[in-house]
Symmetry: C2
Subunit: 229 residues, 2 copies
């Protein structure tokens, strides 16, 4: 048996065990949690700030932001008045369950309804490391091109929804929406797919409505009723 | 001593040894070689096809393309009439020296002046794996945003030039060129920085001229004279 493969398997198994602990911690605090993944510059932080703006009147939100360096993104969350924890991965290309575990310790989870986790900008590695959150969302963007589901199947497969951001600049790019969605659906038949723009706000109502419904369903699954507070 | 760290160090050391072998193979065939790295969708393949179009009249070019899946990009190179080898990394987030080594075996290097290597779309991992090529180029793009040098310093540091692609859509994005270049120069004082557009061709003359000069300098360093043929 290949020794290196064994090491990788052990690391993933350890990660999954911590992810399960994260999930238990989140559930015991009734915190609905969302992991946002994307290529660098697709608009993760913009989606988060737009989502915070739409929900923060009636929802207690917290943010955790993963970056190789800087606290630019967590600063943007904190500027909106929500508790935000920055994880500097120190060169690592993804968040893992242990990093999230340490970040969760820095939040007062009893005071949080919705946790938004911004992963490291990367269309490959984050898909291999479960965090223990309730939803995994992939944010694509028009300027990246319509062939990305075909070229990065590991990331596009197994997510709970795909947002296609920056549709306000569709006119400036040679982007075939039908070809893109075909790739998404081939990897995830029936997946929720939402074209949006954080600049023009087009499509944001549908995303926010869908997210509210997911959060409500989550509370029902825990034996509670009612929408996200 | 940490056992996991040792394993990683050994892997990198093995990679570097193979990278040195690749360099020797390339030099013995007088093949000037360029590794193009970028975020997914920044335009690596477009830069390559534009470069091939500009140089193929008087330069024998070959391409090696790394992707998780599909041969879309190598097909685009082959469609231009140049020998192209596709490396499907099978999920790996970067090219490494061994992958390049195997791909080099599939090319008739004696008939190649310029080798263009397209890395996996990723702003993190490829920077850790030397391939043995002569130039490492980073292609950024306007839609990614002007904060990327600050957020992905490992990738921006240590490259030989930065191309900023898609400047034809600058008007559609809130992109501060000065802030971007400040980040690039802070990490690499004096680095060659070239804004370009593969759509409008703006800036391409400068890039092609610079690349020709680098190739000529390379031949001189080998004890030969003359521009790239």
């Amino acid at each position: 048996m290949n020794r290196q493969v064994t090491v990788v398997e052990n690391i993933l198994s350890a990660n999954d065990q911590i992810a399960e602990r994260n999930r238990a911690t989140l559930d015991s605090n009734r915190v609905f949690s969302v992991n946002l993944m994307a290529s660098p510059g697709a608009g993760k932080t913009s989606v988060i700030t737009s989502t915070v703006a739409a929900l923060q009147q009636d929802t207690r939100i917290a943010g955790i932001d993963g970056d190789l360096a800087t606290s630019i993104d967590a600063d943007r969350m904190a500027a909106m008045g929500i508790p935000a924890v920055q994880i500097n991965t120190g060169g690592s290309c993804h968040l893992d369950a242990l990093m999230l575990n340490k970040a969760l310790e820095q939040l007062s989870l009893a005071d949080v309804d919705l946790l938004l986790v911004e992963n490291v900008g990367n269309l490959v590695c984050p898909s291999s490391f479960a965090l223990g959150v309730h939803l995994n969302i992939l944010i694509a963007s028009v300027p990246e091109g319509d062939d990305k589901p075909y070229k990065y199947p590991g990331m596009y497969q197994g997510v709970d929804a795909v947002l296609l951001n920056k549709i306000d600049v569709l006119h400036a790019f040679d982007f075939d929406m039908e070809y893109f969605e075909l790739g998404v659906q081939a990897l995830n038949p029936g997946l929720m797919f939402m074209p949006i723009s954080c600049t023009s706000n087009e499509g944001m109502d549908k995303w926010i409505g869908w997210l509210r419904q997911q959060a409500a369903d989550y509370l029902i699954s825990l034996g509670e009723t009612g929408a996200i507070r």
